[in-house]
Point group: C2
Chain length 225, copies 2
DNA sequence: CCAAAAGTGTTCCGTCTACACCCATGG
DNA sequence: CCATGGGTGTAGACGGAACACTTTTGG
């Protein structure tokens, strides 16, 4: 292997993950207390350094797996953050990724082990370095994505009620949605399938459970909410 | 200055620029023959390495200035590209940025000096490493941006005719637009101001020149095309 | 029996789309 | 005088927004 770029500086490369969850009609993010210097003890996103043998994306997937034990999460790049002084010690460039997870897939125990917790997106504390900015940008991209592609289901259990789905979209857009109009739109999308199963946890009467059918979606990918 | 991250690898960090221009009813990108190893002679985006004293964004602005002699260009980050083997020699992470420039502001001489030329977006050759992928992603983001924010003007002279503006939007979206409907939408946007000036270069009759008024836009920022 | 959530259609209004002809001028 | 691009209005279709009452059942 030859070195072509001797005259240029090298930098550390890290990944930070903005992990979105949805619970109790609220959109949340997983954050924790930073366990390393510099900035030990400050609120922070969960992240890690990119190893020599892995791409940035692989690093993000691995970091998410370490934290949640889940693979194949929905994950998208937010962007590169590279202010000179963003890390007080060394020059560190960080690539932010956001991920969508179903809070129920994620074990309470693991939360504690990694010292992270779900925090309402409306009530975020000040975070280490530029992590607040990362979250702002991730949120913007995630909102856009949820409006135009059927990925919101990643934040819900595989079987969900229409009320849950509506609450999710209300939390993400920050606006109330008319129930009848919402359900009318859902009916137009064949890939949101009604099952015969009923959820009784949310009401006395019970509500039908629905599921997202990816195959049906691929045949006629028309999503708009 | 302390070193906290001794145990991790460091990487080279570069910036690549996707420079969009609009000419002769076509959307174009500025590319050239790579003048350094590895990959010398291949078609490539214009780029450079990030210096120790500058942020990634500053590096992108500087690189654009070196190439075009223009400052304060409209510029947005496309994302980080970090496959392990994207550079055949060393591990190099590149952050791509796209920029919008008015082809007329850019001197023919400078094109030759830097060995770059305008290539129609429809007729791109194969480029070095992952540069084609960078352009695809940049194009997607740029299209989205032009639909929702008044930045298309950056691709036109400060005075432009409505036909020019329409051709621009047709080139960007790839679809024909109805002239009357287009002009009706323009009329609703007070910040696209008609001047008393007339351009005679495009037709015998002559066409009124318009300009984008940023102040008026800021008072009532409603843009949709 | 009542509180709490589930479920269901219609009307209206504004927006988008389709569409064709006259105008001014340089060569 | 004619070819070329500049400029203008209307009608019909469509999609989105507003809106209220009945059903079911656990406690």
């Amino acid at each position: 292997m030859t070195t072509f770029y001797k005259e240029f500086q090298k930098v550390f490369l890290s990944v930070d993950c903005i992990i979105f969850g949805f619970d109790n009609s609220k959109l949340k993010v997983l954050i924790g207390r930073r366990q390393m210097d510099p900035g030990r003890g400050e609120w922070s996103l969960y992240g890690g350094f990119v190893a020599a043998s892995e791409s940035i994306e692989e690093c993000a997937a691995r970091t998410l797996f370490e934290l949640t034990g889940l693979r194949n999460l929905y994950m998208r790049q937010v962007g590169a953050f590279g202010q000179v002084d963003r890390d007080p010690g060394e020059r560190v460039i960080s690539i932010a990724y956001y991920a969508l997870i179903n809070v129920k897939d994620y074990d309470e125990k693991q939360l504690k082990e990694h010292g992270v917790e779900w925090v309402d997106i409306q009530a975020l504390p000040q975070l280490y370095s530029d992590h607040n900015e990362m979250i702002r940008k991730a949120l913007k991209l995630m909102r856009q994505k949820l409006r135009t592609e059927p990925v919101g289901f990643r934040l819900l259990p595989s079987l969900f009620t229409l009320t849950q789905l509506q609450r999710l979209y209300e939390a993400v857009t920050g606006e109330e949605i008319d129930k009848r109009n919402f359900r009318k739109r859902i009916k137009d999308m064949d890939f949101i399938e009604k099952t015969e199963l009923i959820d009784k946890t949310g009401s006395k009467r019970g509500a039908f459970l629905y599921r997202f059918n990816k195959r049906t979606y691929n045949e006629d990918p028309n999503f708009k909410l």
